[in-house]
Amino acid sequence: MSGHNESILREPLITGNNITYAKITDDILGPVENKPNKAWWIGFTFAALGALLWVVAVSYTFWNGIGAWGLNKTVGWAWDITGFVWWVGIGHAGTLISAVLLLFRQNWRNSINRSAEAMTIFAVICAATYVVSHMGRPWLAYWVLPLPNQFGSLWVNFNSPLVWDMFAISTYFSVSLLFWYTGLLPDIATIRDRATGMRKKVYSIFSFGWSGSVKTWQRFEAVSLILAGISTPLVLSVHTIVSMDFATSVIPGWHTTIFPPYFVAGAIFSGFAMVLTLLLVARKVLGLENYITMFHIESMNKIIILTGSIVGVAYLTEFFIAWYSGSEYEQYAFINRSTGPYWWAYWMMMTCNVISPQLLWFKKIRLSIRATWILSIVVNVGMWFERFVIIVTSLHRDYIPSSWAMFYPTWVDISVFVGSIGLFFTLFLLFLRVLPSIAIAEVKLLLKTASEQAKMKQIKEGHEDKEYVAEYIESLEKFDSVKQEDYAKI
């Protein structure tokens, strides 16, 4: 934080021309310090009803066993693992934004990392409940841990990716929670110092006594950087290990070495789509247009095109390798995927994940909030179908044609899935009410260098190249939160 100016060729990360440190605090804490509006209550009511459905469906599964689901002896994994992988994948964007983009010094992450990380934590909670309930006897869930027992001790099988997965997901969840909470401490302290009475007491406990002294901040930054450094390989390892649950098996369609990078790209793809789904609404409802700008939205859309294209290449490679392998079982698995009884699911996946995200190459679509929001939902639908296709179509026609079967979900399958979405939104909406949805301290860091007003001042000082100024003003056209008339006279 010094007098260094940032080049005006970079788009501003905070727009508006009367932003002060106090205004940043006020704007971001608005939803936390005031009573919720009608939109919040409507959203919360629907989400809470969904969460209730989830409680009913999961309890029903616990009571009756997984026979309550539509599984049969051929298709032994269906919506449960589909839902698990879908949620874990969504969670990945949060860590990507908070860790990978920090390592790459992408300052635009500062205003979206907090809510993306919250999203990670809630998505992993949803994923974890699938893991527990698909065990059938969830009260024995501790059997996945290497605990001394009365069978010998017979330990868990350390050669199994399912055991690796247990370590990976629990590490991922707890480290994400730690990263998120440590980052929250200064912001909770901000709420604490503005509050009175009971509220002050509660936030005081959760602020851990944060003071904001020099040493506290110095260590805070070191800790954040190291956490980012270890979370980056962690997030890659988690979805790699999830993919190994499939890739180390001998099922045609699963037994492929391409799975780890393909799953990781898919996870980031779906995660960014979910971040957009949430933030496009949140920025409007909470009035955060100056902090989550069109530049942020466009950047996320660019990541979606990139990862969507990687996923597309992976689909085609998989198909090619099935043919090239010369293995008829492998070939049949893929022909069956695209032309068999589940052809519609396969083409749904292809359309939503490979074809429609390519629309984002058009600047107009990339910069349209409505189109972006619709595409983000399309991507999430597509990514759900991807997991469904990988899991169910590889299983439903196994080696003996007499045991070929279809999978039909029961009301419990559907309710657990719909309910998990309700649970996710309930948690997210509660988060918006009690904690700042944008990292206040990190956004303040940008005010003097990367904000529109700082760049405006630079231009007014008159030392900037005319061509650069013209280019900069042109780049501002896409911002819905910038008043163009301010630049008319320059």
Partner: protein
């Protein structure tokens, strides 16, 4: 006069605050601490604060995690109960790597963050030691120990010269206990 414990220079701008630090130091006024709503880059060098050694702690915790994971898996799968999987060796190092990696990250993260909390005295329910309530909002506060630096009017002048919006005289060290 003697009741004053700390003199606080409250700035609205981080660059002016840095300027204030320079001015105080040029006049041999020792600075107790600085409280800011966001990290200030370059302030450690100015105040002569040593670099944080938390990275060393992080490395030690991480390597402990690697060793712990290896020891656990080696004991369970190689020493205590060998499982015969198609006659393959039970000491299958490549299969150990995922869990060794995960526990490295887990130990490193928790060890480092708990070290951070302990060294910075952060824990749930700790009474916040705050000198100025706006230091977590929009003020950048330089705190000067009033007992050690007797010339209060000089300090007042230096702070205001540098651009302090307000100079406070606190009779209690931390106002947040009130």
């Amino acid at each position: 006069m003697s009741d004053i414990k700390y003199i606080l220079g409250s700035f609205g701008d981080p660059d002016e605050m840095m300027h204030g630090i320079e001015k105080l130091q040029a006049n041999n006024v020792s600075i107790y601490d600085v409280y800011t709503p966001m990290p200030i880059h370059g302030i450690e060098a100015k105040l002569g604060i040593k670099r944080s050694r938390i990275d060393i702690a992080a490395f030690c915790f991480g390597i402990t995690g690697t060793c712990a994971a290896f020891a656990l898996i080696y004991f369970c799968a190689v020493i205590d109960w060998k499982v015969n999987i198609g006659g393959k060796p039970s000491f299958a190092l490549p299969d150990f790597i995922p869990i060794m990696f995960e526990l490295t990250v887990l130990f490193c993260a928790f060890g480092m963050v708990l070290t951070y909390y302990a060294s910075t005295h952060l824990f749930p329910g700790r009474a916040p030691r705050v000198m100025d309530l706006r230091a977590t909002d929009d003020r950048f506060v330089i705190a000067v120990d009033a007992k050690e630096n007797a010339e209060h009017t000089v300090i007042d002048g230096l702070l205001k010269d540098a651009g302090a919006l307000e100079v406070k005289y606190n009779e209690r060290k931390y106002i947040s206990y009130e």
